[in-house]
């Protein structure tokens, strides 16, 4: 059992630099929670407060029901993996991993057993006698994870552990962390600025901005029902298209007025507007690039865009286009779904017709950017 509960947690640096505000979160036992957000959003600060490396200005942090605000890091029974690995350069890999056990005066045979077991899982057995300086980045990160693993601690904290690795290694380590999590089955708090890591690793994602939590939810919830414009644009790549639009109601149906075209809001979202009798208003309409479909002039709901850049990503094309009123609009096209002829014609200046379905639409109020659904 290891829950982590943060209640009204606040962090202020100096007199008035607020890093984290009103942070409320209950992390369940054995849950994998990811804090994600742009740099300076307070995610690392929050993690470091859980670790005890930063003082807490206000609120309480509980681990397993015990308030740990004033406990030293070593009394919190946590393990942490740092962004820059933070291996002890004068110790061998074995001694690096054994360091915490040595401090606890664990008998030598148990130290040996635990370290070799962890090394086995991480595939670093052959490096146990080396010094960190003789390891590659990926190997160092494994050692750092191993050092945290041997602790058998209540909570496993990871502060951007993959951000120093190159793209290929990062993908590989991400998969390994998923596997590792199954093996060590404890409570994880993971900090990243990479939404892909957040989506793939987290049971729940905490999206943060400027010290405030924007949304807490499963990867699905955060992706499908972003609480506000910030979350909508932050999660997903390329980011969600946002267009100025109007929500109108006619004959009991809701439509979106876009460049003079009326797009029907059908499905669950249409039903939601009907039952809540949402009034017609100016909105910001969000559509993910992957939910946009290529169409043609004959389609009444399709509108015209002009291609500016065509990014060839292999299996997909990212078409960066401009709408009739000059807004940027990105369309993601699976190359396998279109003819070669069309594919090669998608160049600068080409006009294309695009449309999307009601279920692909996200509606945000114009003033505050909050999602109109579930708002």
């Amino acid at each position: 059992m290891a829950t982590v509960k943060l209640t009204n947690v606040k962090k202020v640096y100096g007199k008035d630099v607020v890093a984290v505000q009103d942070f409320n979160l209950e992390i369940k036992d054995k849950e994998f929670v990811v804090f994600v957000g742009p740099s300076g959003c307070g995610k690392s600060t929050t993690l470091r407060m859980i670790a005890g490396l930063e003082d807490i200005t206000g609120g309480t942090i509980e681990i397993d029901g015990v308030v740990v605000n004033d406990l030293q890091p070593r009394d919190r029974d946590i393990a942490m993996v740092f962004q820059n690995y933070a291996l002890y350069p004068h110790l061998t890999v074995f001694e690096n991993m054994a360091f915490s056990l040595r401090l606890k005066k664990v008998p030598q045979d148990i130290v040996y057993k635990k370290v070799t077991e962890a090394a086995e899982i991480l595939g670093i057995t052959e490096y146990l006698t080396r010094k960190p300086r003789n390891l590659s980045g990926g190997q160092r990160q494994r050692v750092a994870i191993g050092r945290a693993m041997v602790r058998d601690s209540k909570v496993f904290l990871m502060d951007e552990p993959l951000s120093n690795l190159d793209a290929k290694l990062r993908n590989q380590m991400r998969a390994e962390i998923i596997l590792l999590r199954k093996k060590i089955d404890t409570t994880f708090v993971y900090v990243t600025h990479d939404q892909t890591e957040a989506m793939t690793l987290g049971d729940r994602i905490v999206v943060m901005k400027d010290g405030f939590i924007q949304q807490v939810g499963t990867p699905e919830e955060v992706f499908d029902s972003p609480a506000n414009l910030f979350v909508a644009e932050f999660i997903g790549a390329p980011k969600m298209n946002i267009l100025e639009s109007k929500l109108v109601s006619e004959n009991g149906q809701y439509y979106v007025d876009l460049f003079g075209k009326k797009l029907l809001v059908d499905g669950k979202k249409g039903e939601y507007f009907k039952t809540k009798a949402v009034k017609a208003q100016d909105i910001r309409l969000g559509v993910r690039p992957e939910h946009v479909k290529l169409s043609d002039m004959t389609d009444k709901s399709a509108f015209e865009c002009t291609i500016e850049v065509n990014e060839m990503m292999g299996s997909e094309l990212y078409l960066h286009t401009v709408t009739p009123n000059g807004d940027k609009f990105v369309v993601r096209v699976q190359t396998i779904n279109i003819s070669d002829e069309l594919r090669h014609s998608l160049n600068y200046g080409k006009k294309i017709y695009v449309t999307f379905e009601g279920k692909a639409m996200h509606f945000f109020d114009k003033a505050e950017g909050k999602n109109l659904i579930n708002a």
Binding site: G52, L53, P73, R74, A86, P89, S100, R140
Partner: protein, 283 residues
Amino acid sequence: MGGLSASRRASNTLIYIILTLMCIIWIIPFVCILFESFRVETTMQVGYVIPKQFGFDNYINLFKETDFPIWYRNTFIMGLFVSVIQTMFVLMMSYTLSRLRFKGRKGLMNFMLVMGMFPGFLSMIILYRVLSRMGMTGEHSVIGLILVYTASSGMGYYVSKGFFDTIPRSLDEAARVDGATRAQVFGRIIMPLSKPIVIYTVLCAFMGPWGDFMFAKYIAHGSSKGMNVAVGIQYLIDKDNMRAAHYTQFCAAGVLVAIPITILFMCLQKYYVEGVTGGSVKG
């Protein structure tokens, strides 16, 4: 191409000639002292360098006829104590200033910086009075001098603080999360990584008592039993001293003083250049 290489060769030659000359000028006094110390034909200062007769008479007489062994022992004891105490003070002070954030930290650092700019001998008279009341002058000046040398040594924190600042804080944090107390972080992580600066501090501290003249002379107050080597060997050639003619012994003493420092330096100098933090964190 040829012209460039020729001009480079010329400038290199010039540089080497200048450097060689500077080396010779720098080394002449040492060579002279070495020769003087082996001179047997006379104990006086003479107008030539190379002795007519070589021998160890000066060294033997130094031990037989003078208090040199006492001065040497005094200085060695002071060196030992000062190097241990001062290293502890300096390193703990530097680590604290490098890692902990507390009220008045900046102010304290500035205060110590300014205090350090005042010459130490400003406090000489009052220190003598204090030590004299405590019976730590004259014959017993060794203890007094150890106090004088170590008391304010924490103020010399700049160099080692600069070194500690280069050790990533995440190492401290990792160790603290791993279960270490601040003292354990210092002892088990920071100290092993700081060999160069520890050695530097030890060397400086050890060498202090060997070279100090002003404080040592004042506090020893003419008592031969309480002198360090610098004061002692100056006492050998003192005008008031009847042994004013013992110039060659003075030189032999100089050579003997240089020996421990040279050995220490040669043993420890490799740590000066050893890079130790490689591989600990992403560069």
